[in-house]
């Protein structure tokens, strides 16, 4: 049994069948990539997993519990964190404050009305935040305003924010989209490091095959809302169905 199980999920947008009977099983502590051409339903699937969309039918269970109908913050507190296609960070705050906020979420839960104690008095939160910044190698940027970071650093910061909460499952939506090769390689290294040092499962949506083949242990290919194949990276490369999905026709 996998940590995340998706069974028979359907989602329609008007006349468009975005997801048709999707089954997916992500094994614990593995890196599972979901690939497919544009419009295949990858992001829709991810949105269904984090509570942004509610599928028309089917079930999504995480560690045996259904996530459907729960609010995003509840799903996050269950242990699922998400990295967005464009890094979602608190751009008005500095790097340290950005990381402190998930520290509060980790320590105090979804809501805690602490309007009297000063932020700078929270030594444990600060230590937690400083530690994660060291882990992702951003400690020298702790007082930089998040808006002025480079794209790669924003991504790094977003991952740090997710990692603070020690999620069981990390969902990554095109983590290297729009990045230069050097930044992409840095991100791959960071993800490998996270994978090796923590008890964590990752599901990655990615277009860049270099990233997919460097990280993934299992690959699911989606096309037109339906999973075509689920295989190991070695077997995916020459798979005829995959070629068909990407190139549009079967070779005779």
């Amino acid at each position: 049994m996998g940590i995340l199980e998706v069974k028979g999920v359907n989602k329609r947008f008007g006349g468009l069948q975005a997801l048709g009977d999707v089954n997916l099983n992500v094994a614990e502590n593995s890196v599972h990539a979901i690939i497919g051409p544009n419009g295949a339903g990858k992001s829709t699937l991810l949105n269904c997993l984090v509570g942004m969309l509610i599928p028309d039918s089917g079930t999504v269970t995480f560690q045996g519990e259904s996530v459907l109908g729960r609010n995003p913050h509840e799903i996050n507190q269950m242990g699922i964190s998400r990295v967005f296609q464009t890094p979602e960070i608190f751009s008005d705050l500095n790097v340290l404050e950005n990381v402190m906020i998930p520290c509060f979420a980790k320590r105090d839960g979804a809501f805690e009305l602490n309007a009297w104690g000063a932020v700078r008095g929270q030594a444990d939160i600060r230590d937690m935040a400083e530690q994660i910044l060291i882990d992702v190698n951003m400690q020298d940027k702790r007082h930089v305003n998040a808006a002025s970071l480079s794209r790669g650093d924003k991504r790094r910061l977003e991952m740090a924010m997710c990692l603070v909460q020690q999620p069981k499952l990390l969902l990554l939506d095109e983590p290297t989209a729009g990045m230069a090769r050097a930044d992409t390689n840095n991100t791959i290294d960071l993800l490998k490091e996270i994978k090796d040092s923590r008890d964590i499962t990752m599901a990655i949506i990615e277009h860049d095959m270099h990233v997919v083949f460097s990280l993934a242990e299992r690959i699911t290919v989606l096309a037109q809302g339906t999973p075509l194949v689920e295989e190991t990276p070695e077997n995916i490369k020459g798979h005829p169905k995959v070629r068909e999905a990407y190139l549009g026709e079967a070779q005779v």
């Binding site: 608190f90 309007a115 000063a118 932020v119 924010m161």
Partner: protein, 402 residues
């Protein structure tokens, strides 16, 4: 000190000093001089400075921290006012129950309005709050007349029960006069006048009561700004989606913030009726809600001291510029040749008296265009100019957010 860091303590002490010496500072011109017109150190106006300061501080906790623009905050001010007058009528002429109850009632009312309005964000939130405030205004002026006094307003009267014992300000009226609001025997309208040289300074009991409460309100707002709660509110302004996907439920944070802000408005309303026990429905009208938005933006959104400055600025203009009339202008420009004098007066005429809104509007436009951070940003820029002159070779970092 008080659990604040050095910078905030300094700010609090400066504000405390300014407020304490306001009767002197606001009367810079000797009595009887031509410029005495511009003195603002009379009790009525000074009370309004600090009361609207409280209103704007509260509004800024909502708008400045979370970016949610409420267009109905005057409703809480009005509800607080009515609650305050009722306390003065039913319980005692002592202002303490009035001030407490106005805050509590406005808080309860804001739970209701906040719970509904906060289902939406952005412009829809603004419209919802505006709708609620206009609804409250219309109800107060018509259907709810038995509670609100309708268009004539609600005020203390001779036949009010005032059930508290006499030594606590209760009991019937003495000597056939409507009693004036007081604090354990100290009437709010009591003043001590001090004449030094040509200057006349008025130290008013009501002003100092309001001023002390304003300082407490200001202190609480600093604590909120620096607390984890304040940080979450800033995170909501910055990226609400990320906050949700970080496992934090933004709804209770927003509601708590909205209620705190509503309670500040109620407190301001309670103080208003404690100074002058009359509450009218027009206090809830949308123009009153708009005014606090202007105050906050003019002073500096999201800064600690900005809203107080903005409130002072607008109330000063409202009371001083509106009093200048053509006769006075003719006096001032009497040294000019006749034709020229009339011409200059005709030019200035639209900006004064009833036209003070024009002056205010132009000033507001200038501030928004050239100083988006409000008067506080203006102050910071001035400060950094002086610093640069002092040590021209070292690099300058302008300080942020206070």
């Amino acid at each position: 000190m008080f659990g604040l860091d050095k910078k905030d303590t300094g700010l609090l002490l400066i504000v405390a000093a300014l407020v304490a010496f306001a009767p002197i500072l606001l009367n810079p011109f000797p009595e009887g001089s031509a410029l005495a017109q511009f003195n603002a150190g009379y009790p009525d106006l000074m009370q309004r400075f600090v009361i609207f300061g409280i209103f704007a501080i509260g509004f800024n906790i909502l708008f400045g921290l979370t970016g949610y623009l409420s267009f109905g905050h005057a409703a809480f001010l009005g509800v607080g006012s009515y609650a305050g007058v009722w306390m003065l009528k039913l319980l005692t002429i002592n202002v303490i129950p009035a001030i407490i109850m106005s805050t509590v009632v406005a808080g309860l009312f804001s739970i209701l309005i906040g719970y509904i309005s906060l289902r939406r964000s952005g412009i829809y939130f603004s419209i919802l709050t505006l709708a609620f405030a206009q609804m409250s205004f219309a109800l107060a002026a018509s259907v709810l007349t038995p509670i609100t006094g309708g268009e004539t307003g609600l005020q203390t009267g001779l036949n009010d029960p005032r059930i508290f014992p006499e030594f606590l300000g209760g009991g019937a009226t003495s000597g056939g006069n409507i009693p004036a609001p007081e604090l354990f025997g100290l009437e709010m309208r009591a003043s001590y006048e001090l004449s030094v040289g040509g200057w006349l300074w008025t130290f008013n009991a009501g002003y100092y009561v309001c001023a002390i409460i304003m300082l407490v309100a200001f202190y609480i707002s600093i604590r909120i700004f620096r607390s984890p709660f304040g940080m979450m509110l800033r995170a909501i302004k910055s990226n609400q989606r990320r906050l949700n996907y970080t496992g934090l439920n933004t709804k209770p944070y927003m509601l708590a913030c909205f209620v705190i802000s509503g309670m500040y408005a109620g407190l301001a309303g309670g103080l208003m009726v404690s100074m002058d026990p009359l509450a009218g429905a027009e206090r809830m009208q949308w123009t009153a809600s708009g005014e606090v938005v202007l105050m906050t933006i003019l002073g500096g959104v999201g800064t600690l001291i900005g809203p107080v400055l903005g409130a002072g600025m607008i109330k000063y203009f409202e009371n001083i510029f509106s009093k200048i009339n053509d006769n006075l202008l003719h006096q001032w420009f009497a040294f000019m040749p006749d034709g020229m004098e009339d011409f200059v007066v005709a030019i200035i005429h639209p900006f004064i008296g009833k036209g003070w809104h024009l002056t205010l509007g132009l000033m507001f436009m200038l501030v928004v265009i050239f100083l988006p951070g409000g008067l506080v940003e203006g102050g910071q820029r001035l400060g950094s100019v002086f610093k640069r002159k002092k040590k021209a070779d070292s690099s300058i970092h302008s300080s942020t957010a206070n």
